[in-house]
Symmetry: C3
Subunit: 207 residues, 3 copies
């Protein structure tokens, strides 16, 4: 039973890795990349955020590179894209947005929880949770030569930040690790989906 | 009095962080980003160079992520941009160039001084000083999908390198830390402003 | 004699650094950059992959920043580009492709060998070998605002991966370090050149 919390973290991390691998791979395929290029974009999207988090925490080699489970999750996501590409492309947009929001919610709580395990201050834990959630997507967009979506579109990184805040507050008030993570993931997912559904945007700064 | 040099480093670092946060935020706002996107570009510009320096030195988590003073400086810079955007936009170009050059001068001497504290060789201290000065701007330009200005425009990174060289030489001939930093910052600022004033450029390689 | 293997690694690394510095510098010059911009692109291409590898291994400051030999190799490559630019531009494409493939082959075996020295698992050694080979080129393309060639063009990263695989397998079956490196470099070089000669491409995923 003592290992339960660790497993929750790992399971959430791998699930989000798989989701983001499929999503990144599908975008790479849509951009006309070859089999290997799709694998690179898939990997970057899936583990880019976590690797940056681990570098900033000084946890090297990063978790995604230490265990064979992450390459396996990425390989599986890549296979899904390659084998079922026309199927992946046919997934309705609302389903895609929901899966992406689920991945985002899982990654932000995984990142914040891991950062708290490393005894960093709460502000940094929130920041690292957000980076874990959005970092892979930023790298993917840079590779594909797009302005990172996170800079331009609606409530995305803000939702990741909310999930991380909930984790930090939840641990502070004594919630068990798994409960804090669940609450944070649900908060992120909900804010993200509601903001899409209602077309919420943050205001621009330019008048 | 023993802590004086440390405080000089920190004060210079925070002042440059604030200057670059305002500058990055103003560019992000001009690119039409929303409130959060402006914050991301502001943060990246302000602490991107220092974070890369700290990763390369193995000083993790990076200084900018350990202390609450850096988020505070970034938040203040962001607020200035958001609240006073039309005011920021009305600042005359020569003032902007001078403020940017001041930030560059401070960052390059902070980076070189910190690198020397970590007992790296002088070449590497110069390199890390330069990276501290220009790194954030390179990342900002990548995020905004521009060819990094440092690759294309006049005497910019060269000025940062000069500031770092002055710090390394100054410490070698026995100048106190604060004096070496002041000399380096003035050298960088001067070269940068003179090169702008006289339209100095490095030659291209293509015939 | 005990130091022989170390020297093989260093010599291979420096030779590849020089090759990639010339190549990156020539591309930067062709993009119209000034003398300093060419130096930045040259450095990035030459040591970008190795620095990422060392950050991921936790070997900081990275090797390329610890020894003066790497800046010297980069400076030499930069000088070659600056002094002999019209000559460099006149090099026939097949020669360029071969030199690039040689650099790629050297870097991927250097990266895989170093990773094995750090006792990482074989999968990670292969990944780090590949990153060492292609990482600098990806950064160069990002700086020059091009979609990274590695995502789009033929058998490039795959050749680097093959070289790393050969090193890992070679060490596992008991080959001496230098022999495993030679075999890996030849495998990478051969696959790369054959794929160019015959116009081999990986299939795209889109139907």
């Amino acid at each position: 039973m003592r290992l339960q919390p660790v497993r929750v973290l790992t399971v959430a991390d791998l699930a989000a890795t798989l989701l983001f691998a499929v999503e990144g791979g599908a975008l790479g395929a849509a951009a006309g990349l070859d089999l290997f290029g799709v694998l690179v974009v898939s990997s970057t999207t899936a583990v880019g955020g976590g690797i940056v988090r681990d570098l900033l925490l000084g946890d090297v080699p990063p978790a995604a590179l230490r265990s064979v489970a992450y390459p396996a999750a990425i390989g599986l996501g890549w296979l899904v894209v390659v084998v079922l590409y026309s199927g992946v492309r046919a997934i309705p947009a609302p389903v895609l947005v929901t899966l992406d929001a689920a991945g985002l919610g899982l990654f932000c709580v995984v990142g914040a929880t891991k950062a708290l395990d490393f005894k960093v201050n709460p502000i940094l834990a929130i920041l690292l949770g957000t980076i874990t959630g959005v970092g892979g997507g930023v790298m993917r967009d840079l590779l594909l030569r797009e302005v990172p979506a996170v800079l331009r579109t609606d409530i995305y990184a803000v939702a990741a930040g909310l999930g991380a805040v909930v984790v930090v507050l939840g641990r502070r008030v004594g919630l068990p690790r798994a409960a804090a993570m669940a609450a944070g993931a649900v908060a992120c997912l909900t804010l993200r989906l509601v903001s899409v559904a209602f077309g919420w945007h943050l205001p621009q700064v330019t008048a």
